[in-house]
Amino acid sequence: MTRASHDQTHTISVLVDNESGVLARVIGLFSGRGYNIDSLTVGVVDHDRGLSRINVVTTGTPMVIEQIKAQLDRLVPVHRVTDLTVQGPHVAREMAVVKVISTGENRVEGLRIAEAFRARVVDTHVGSFVFELTGAIDKIDAFIELMRPLGLAEVSRTGIAAIMRGAATI
């Protein structure tokens, strides 16, 4: 067997105990072993059982991706590691809030693009807008690029929440 060298991007969901330090363990694992984190989100998903879900998007060779999953799985507070990219079709959505400072022509153009992207205006001032936008990572990337010449001032993104399509669960 030879080492495949081409990089792949994978979305991995990790079900963990909602306890202090668990996120530090996951992040420390990635930094300590030199793995990439493209995006990482965490939130409580089951209060009764005390479970949180971490969604991490990472890039590496197939051997590294397998290592990442095995390393995550051996952490004591980790219940389950699921590679959504391998499991099949899944949706991965991110939210962004984007501040655009502009007047006149640019302001009108910004609003028009926002409508096309189904971005909502959540704050309006005479000289600025804040848009809220949800969607796939590349959609948000595209929106930000379009806003750049129109007075893009600030961006805040959540990182992705991901889930399998259909009736399948992790």
Partner: protein
């Protein structure tokens, strides 16, 4: 009657330790753990061994654990107590040794305030442990302690830290016994997949040039795993090599045993790995000290890798047949499947393979020349060989620990281990100063056994303060120093890789080890020439107390055979006894450690 007062955290802690079967703790007191020391004072079930430095407490617990198969226990105070323990914890992590380390912590209301002797112990030890806990409520204490022992010994063993704020130790903490319920998240696979076992037997039975490569996982699995390994070796007729961590898994005297493999392994072990068509790795992790250059490592073999830790599989070396499971269970399943068929390997091919291996063996890669004229200088290899022979002839159960460096490799090469759990060495981390405290832990667990730390004069000074512990507890540990007045392995690399520029590797201003021993209430002995060696070893073994034997050895001697960094197994250097063997170190190799 008034309701019974709930026990204090310290009382509950000790009760939990007792229920976990703990008999010995290695520790050092301090402000944050005074409540535990007060509780220890008022009981007799658990013995406390007072070390002289917290790093040594962890190594002692490692020695105890490795020689018994039980969890070693450490107790240190907050702040510097915990930070001093970190090297030991990483050592135990790298070598998969089960240790529970209890650390004191400032009271919960002071955490984060930069209080006196406060350190972020869970933060610092997170990458240094298998898992760690900070106990914030008395109600959690008993459960966490039981959990810590479970995690330390289950799956691939490792060190676990339990950080204990002082108010938790003083305040009420109701006791709860260990639970039989499965762990809520950590349930490692120990039973191998029968389909993987069947595929492994398919490949093994068809092998023409097989090799069995066994590591510390076999030792960790327990003595039964070593016996099963030997049974499998005999049943198949396959050659077997052990890693540094696996020495003793296959008896050294077994004709099928090729010796240790890797950077300072034997010629026959490394060439058999290189030429094999089927490799069966059980409980080893393809460490860089074993593989040499990865893209030239055992290039033609189908690889079967059995490991209890799935993250070890396909980490450094891609394998065709992964088996996740405990070594003993894997071997039992393989033996059963082999006999059920029964498998019929190609005996003609195996005979040819053994003929080839015997030719490699005939090179006698560990050969050295010792001059025996009176006054002749002692070769370090000869010192270890004589130590081994005299120990063997004494008939005593002998345990060997080492420090790190040339002497460690000579010990691995020339001391022969027939049984598991007799060999304690810092393999993964390579911690100088490991051997003396580890030997202490072994001697505590085996009071009547012969326990010897094979040391170098540089390494031994890194935890020399533990001579005080030997004296206090009358531990008859023997320290056998191969004294070449150099950090020998550093000197060797400087000679081979850095143009003999011996930068800072000379052991200047050494103490007089005989007087040093005497000042610590031990006996000091010295051998300067070969005619004095046997007498010193015999006297050392005869003394019922701690001994330092300072053996002056050839300063120029290098450790061979050697696979230079970045080289392949078939590019070994065989040393001055063997003409015409040399591999150049590449620029790439120079960057490796």
């Amino acid at each position: 009657m008034p309701p019974e007062k709930p026990p204090s955290g310290a009382d509950t802690l000790l009760r939990a330790l007792k229920d976990q079967g703990v008999e010995v703790i290695f520790g050092y007191p301090g402000g944050a753990v005074l409540p535990i020391y007060d509780a220890l004072f008022q009981q007799n079930a658990i013995r406390h061994i007072l070390v002289r430095h917290e790093q040594a407490a962890v190594h002692a617990a490692e020695g105890y654990a490795r020689s018994t198969g039980r969890v070693g226990v450490v107790l240190v105070t907050s702040g510097p107590g915990a930070t001093n323990a970190v090297t030991g914890l990483v050592d135990a992590l790298m070598d998969s040794i089960p240790v529970v380390c209890l650390t004191g912590q400032v009271p919960t209301h002071l955490i984060g305030n930069d209080a006196f002797q406060e350190a972020d112990t869970t933060g610092i030890t997170r990458p240094a442990t298998k898992h760690n806990y900070l106990v914030k409520r008395g109600a959690d204490l008993a459960r966490v302690v039981h959990d810590a022992f479970y995690v330390a010994r289950s799956g691939r063993p490792g060190p676990v830290v339990v950080d204990l704020p002082k108010d938790i130790l003083i305040g009420p903490a109701p006791y709860a016994p260990p639970s039989d319920a499965p762990h809520r998240s950590y349930r490692p696979t120990t039973e191998p997949d029968p389909a993987a076992i069947a595929r492994a037997v398919d490949v093994l039975a068809a092998a023409k040039r097989p090799i069995i490569y066994a590591g510390g996982g076999v030792i960790n699995s327990g003595p039964e795993a070593a016996a099963l390994l030997t049974e499998f070796v005999h049943l198949t007729g396959f050659p077997c090599t052990n890693t540094l961590m696996g020495l003793g898994a296959c008896p050294a005297s077994d004709p099928a045993f090729l010796g240790m493999l890797g950077m300072h392994g034997t010629y026959e072990a490394n060439l058999a790995m290189h030429g094999a068509d089927v490799m069966f790795n059980i409980g080893a992790r393809f460490d860089d000290r074993v593989t040499g250059r990865l893209n030239a490592f055992s290039p033609g073999s189908i690889k079967i890798h059995a490991d209890i830790d799935p993250s070890n599989i396909n980490k450094n070396v891609a394998v065709e047949i992964p088996i996740v499971g405990d070594a003993a269970r894997v071997l039992r399943a393989l033996l059963a499947e082999w006999r059920r068929r029964p498998a019929a390997p190609d005996r003609a091919a195996l005979t040819a393979w053994w003929r080839q291996i015997d030719q490699w063996r005939a090179r006698d890669s560990l050969r050295f020349t010792q001059k025996h004229a009176p006054g002749a200088i002692i070769k370090p290899q000869y010192a270890v060989q004589r130590l081994y022979e005299i120990c063997r002839d004494s008939g005593r159960d002998t345990f060997i620990s080492t420090e790190v460096g040339q002497h460690q490799m000579w010990a691995a090469q020339y001391f022969k281990f027939e049984k598991p759990n007799r060999w304690m060495t810092s393999g993964g981390l390579g911690t100088m100063g490991y051997g003396l405290p580890a030997a202490m832990g072994v001697q505590i667990a085996h009071p009547d056994a012969l326990v010897i730390d094979i040391a170098g004069e540089a390494s031994i000074l890194m935890n020399i303060q533990e001579m005080g512990t030997l004296a206090q507890y009358r531990l008859p540990v023997k320290i056998f120093i191969l004294n070449n007045e150099y950090m020998g392995m550093v000197r060797q690399w400087q000679e081979l890789l850095h143009g003999s520029r011996y930068s800072e590797s000379y052991s200047s201003a050494l103490p007089d080890f005989v007087k040093l021993a005497e000042s610590f209430h031990a006996t000091g002995l010295r051998a300067k020439t070969v005619d004095e060696l046997d007498d010193v070893i015999h006297r050392m073994l005869a003394i019922d107390g701690p001994v330092i034997a300072d053996i002056a050895v050839d300063q120029k001697e290098n450790c061979f055979p050697m696979i230079p960094s970045g080289a392949a197994h078939n590019e070994m250097i065989l040393g001055p006894e063997h003409a015409g063997s040399a591999a150049a170190v590449t620029d790439e190799g120079l960057m490796l450690v």
